[in-house]
């Protein structure tokens, strides 16, 4: 049924919208919203300019968005960057996600589409500002020819080219046809605006996707609806590595609406039905048996014991070895040792995993909320044994990503299921329980520290050994070996244990693991030295003594910044956070403050948390202060929202986040046993920007990491216990007997 595929392709630019109630039909309709799906070919009357821009007859300007939207504001931020140099009228801006097939056909002109690591702005700003300037110059060149005047006499403003001396103007819509025939100018011939001349970048413009997110019209992957579409529910082996042993399809094939029972790979089985409830009900009623697999006896206890073996064994990798820790350690006056644990975490985006696929003999299409649309396409092609050039991926809005949607496991499954009924689109939707139990997880790690303080209370030696499940720094060592501290003898080692549960980077990645452990240990050293935590931290971040060490593999990297500059920037946000928190003001008994810093690439963050112990085994967070230097801000209000959200995300991890394993299976299943921070627990958050205006960074992640040790340090400072293993809910928060 190639006709179906054809019809989808033609209407690709249309967003899929639910028909108004009446008859219950679902139909296509042009929505004109910011969220329309991308099309390779501009509709009649529209003119595409240099890949990125489509000018419509009504002079509206559609910008193509190549970073995926998971709530961080990618659509709006990318549009601001592109529209700035384009001199487009913001009121007439529309956006659409790029076509992944077009991106491939055009040799990846849209740059990096993977959306992760707080890098969307940093890695796009030059590309987008340059493209905007090139397209503006194409329009200027076209106008110069039409007016018969030199290009230098023309001014681009509000989606029109003006000739000020004669008062003439031509709209972009009037010029687009001519401009499309002008070769894009060499970027080297263009000068981009200086930051002080920006009209859109740096301004707190309203998000383009917000209106559709207040009336139910925003379309997420779970909302995709195609003609004749079927729905699939899936059951996966509860035990890691287990296989499907047997099932009884006949038991459910007669149930209403059920079309097919489809084994998915070796370890899962799906039911296809007219709607998801039917599919899920039938799946739950179907007898299924699983074969245990090699990990049937795996538990959180065996995993922890294995990590502890890692701490005792010879390290696999010495990441850093400054000075001579072995010689310096015994000479010092005072020593401190501590062991820290961070558990597995599930990303828990609120939209459960899903993907919709349509497969015919020679083509495939996938509609999916994903952070990695190109990977989604290649995974689908590989699964189907088809040419990647015969496929298309339509990215949709994501109901949260947080790193979970960097994996394409559900895309692989959707392709396998859709292949069973060629020519019919199938939407695979995981239940929340599937989503909690079968995600790749933020990995566990165990850290052991040993440090020496000299008689003046300064750190003479620092030894940190990590036992983790990956040699990939993003899952194990980010933030551990890049410390800028003025410590002459520093050794950081990694012991790699065999991974059993697949890892996936989660918002904050290993920074969120190592920021907790290193910033907690620094706080413990300050207490041991009898020093104020802020003053102690500040002395360690001495630009004149910053350690001259760069990790061999770090991404995002430091953009060539020298350690003294990095230390000065990190210390500047530390100072700002302490100042805004009123650090020197005393707190009443039972209250406490904690402080922590986090350097991620070219982003510098510090957090202060204030808590009150409630005297009944728990605590209240009074407020959170974050100071941050990501270089520049594209949209200050969106950036502030990202930090507010990072705080909630970090606090959830700190207080409640824990996935445990028993008998080879994940124990937690849903939001009743995998808890999230709720509205009544959300503290006030103050965000203070300190912008260096030199090197671009990111804002989506770094506060997530910094707020965790700031909280646990505050609890200790208030007289509560020193939290060395997360989550905090496993500890009773009583005042220590002094």
């Amino acid at each position: 049924m190639p006709d179906l595929i054809e019809s989808y392709s033609i209407s690709r630019r249309d967003v899929l919208v639910a028909a108004a109630l009446g008859g219950g039909a679902v139909a296509f309709g042009y929505c004109g919203s910011a969220l329309a799906l991308a099309d390779a070919v501009a509709p009649t009357g529209d003119t595409e300019l240099y890949n990125w821009v489509v000018i419509a007859a009504d002079n509206s300007v559609t910008l193509r968005i190549a970073q995926m939207e998971m709530g961080q504001g990618a659509i709006t931020a990318m549009a601001q960057l592109l529209a700035e140099e384009l001199e487009a009228d913001w009121a007439g801006i529309r956006t659409e996600f790029i076509s992944i097939a077009t991106h491939r056909r055009r040799n990846k002109v849209y740059g990096r589409t993977r959306t992760a690591a707080s890098l969307g702005v940093k890695l796009s700003e030059q590309l987008l500002r340059t493209a905007g300037a090139q397209i503006r110059m194409m329009l200027v060149t076209a106008a110069a020819a039409r007016f018969g005047v030199p290009a230098v006499e023309l001014v681009a403003r509000d989606s029109a080219i003006h000739h000020p001396t004669t008062g003439r103007k031509l709209l972009y819509a009037e010029l687009a046809g001519d401009a499309a025939r002008v070769p894009p100018p060499d970027p080297a011939t263009l000068r981009l605006k200086a930051p002080q001349d920006w009209k859109l970048v740096g301004k707190p413009l309203a998000r383009l996707d917000v209106p559709a997110k207040t009336d139910g019209s925003a379309i997420y992957g779970i909302d995709v609806s195609l003609p004749g579409m079927k729905h699939a529910a899936i059951a996966m082996s509860p035990v890691v590595g287990g296989k499907l042993a047997s099932h009884d399809a006949e038991a459910v094939l007669a149930q209403p609406g059920v079309h097919a029972v489809v084994p998915v790979g070796e370890d899962a089985i799906a039911v296809i039905a007219d709607d998801w409830w039917q599919a899920r009900t039938a799946l739950d009623a179907m007898p299924i048996e699983w074969r245990g697999g090699a990990y049937a006896s795996l538990s959180s206890e065996t995993i922890l014991a294995d990590l502890r073996m890692g701490l005792q064994a010879e390290p696999d990798i010495v990441l850093r070895d400054d000075g001579d820790v072995g010689e310096a350690m015994p000479k010092a006056a005072n020593h401190l040792e501590a062991e820290y644990f961070v558990p597995y975490l599930d990303h828990a985006p609120l939209e459960p995993m899903n993907a919709t696929a349509l497969v015919t003999d020679d083509r495939f299409e996938v509609w999916v909320p994903t952070q990695v649309p190109e990977t989604a396409l290649s995974v689908a092609a590989e699964t189907l044994g088809m040419d990647p050039n015969s496929g298309e991926v339509h990215p949709t809005l994501m109901g949260g990503g947080f790193g979970r949607r960097q994996s394409s496991d559900f895309v692989r499954q959707a392709a396998q299921i859709a292949k069973a009924i060629p020519g019919t689109a199938v939407k695979l939707l995981w239940s929340r329980e599937d989503t909690t139990r079968h995600g790749p997880l933020r990995p566990v790690a165990l850290s052991r520290f040993r440090a020496a303080l000299d008689r003046k209370g300064t750190v003479a030696a620092w030894s940190h050994r990590i036992a983790a499940h990956s040699t990939s720094p993003v899952d194990s060592t980010y933030g551990a070996d890049s410390l800028l501290y003025a410590v002459p003898n520093m050794r950081v080692e990694l012991a790699v244990r065999e991974p059993v549960i697949q890892a996936a980077p989660m918002r904050g990645v290993a920074f969120a693991m190592n920021c907790f452990v290193t910033q907690s240990f620094v706080d413990e050293l300050a207490v041991t030295a009898g020093a104020d935590a802020y003053a102690f931290q500040r002395a360690l971040l001495d630009p004149a003594k910053a350690a001259d060490y760069v990790p061999p593999s770090v991404f995002p990297d430091f953009d060539g910044l020298t350690p003294d500059v990095r230390a000065a920037r990190l210390r500047a946000v530390l100072d700002e956070a302490a100042d805004k928190a009123g650090w020197s003001e005393p707190l009443a008994a039972g209250r406490g403050r904690g402080i922590a810093v986090n350097e991620e690439g070219t982003s510098y963050f510090a957090a202060v948390v204030e808590v009150t112990l409630d005297g009944a085994g728990w605590f209240k967070i009074d407020r959170v202060i974050v100071a941050a230097d990501p270089g520049f801000l594209v949209n200050p209000d969106m950036a502030t929202a990202q930090v507010e959200g990072s705080v909630a995300f970090g606090l959830t991890s700190a207080i409640y986040g824990e996935i445990t394993v028993r008998d080879g299976a994940v124990v937690q299943s849903n939001f009743d046993d995998y808890r999230m921070l709720r509205l009544d627990e959300m503290p006030d958050v103050e965000v203070h920007w300190v912008l260096n205006r030199e090197v671009w960074g990111g804002v989506g992640e770094p506060a997530t990491a910094a707020v965790i040790p700031a909280l646990t340090n505050a609890i200790a400072n208030a007289g509560g216990p020193r939290i060395r293993s997360l989550p905090i809910m496993n500890h009773r928060i009583e005042r220590r007997v002094l």
Partner: protein, 158 residues
């Protein structure tokens, strides 16, 4: 097939329009709205009444659509986010835009519907009353501070 899964015809009024539908009696309202009526603004988040993403109004009361079978509400008036206002003009929808509340936006239909029921019952809720009511709804992106501000703004402007 058990008795509860047998199809039955249920009449509901959804966003002001009378709908007659045939569905398994135990089919949750959530899936009727989404898969049978095409009203996808109401979201599936947990299926156990723990996240609030599916919050709609049944006869004016905030109700978890994933925990409500269609047969249990035969004859009722159901309002979803699509029916809250004809033009995105409800004071809460305007406040949600003014405060730039949504990030991923997935939970926001449920948040707005719960807040709308709160304001209908209590036009000037205190911050404590807002917190008590709204703790039922999870926002994984952490837009809680803005949700509170938007409810307070809507209460002021209504």
């Amino acid at each position: 097939m058990t008795a509860t899964t047998q199809d039955r015809t249920v009449v509901l009024t959804v966003n002001g329009e009378k709908v007659s539908l045939t569905a398994p009696g135990d089919m949750p309202l959530l899936w009727v709205l989404r898969d049978r009526l095409g009203l996808t603004g109401t979201k599936y988040g947990c299926g156990i009444g723990a996240c609030g993403a599916c919050t709609v109004h049944v006869d004016g009361a905030p109700t978890l659509a994933c925990q409500t079978s269609v047969k249990a509400i035969a004859g009722a008036h159901v309002t979803t986010i699509e029916g809250l206002s004809p033009d995105r003009g409800h004071p809460l929808q305007r406040a949600w835009v003014a405060e730039q509340v949504p990030q991923c936006g997935y939970c926001q239909s449920g948040q707005i519907m719960r807040a709308a029921a709160l304001l209908a019952r209590n036009p000037e809720p205190s911050r404590g009353e807002i917190a008590k009511e709204m703790r039922a709804n999870i926002c994984r992106c952490g837009t809680y501070l803005r949700i509170v501000r938007a409810i307070e703004r809507a209460a002021r402007d209504a």
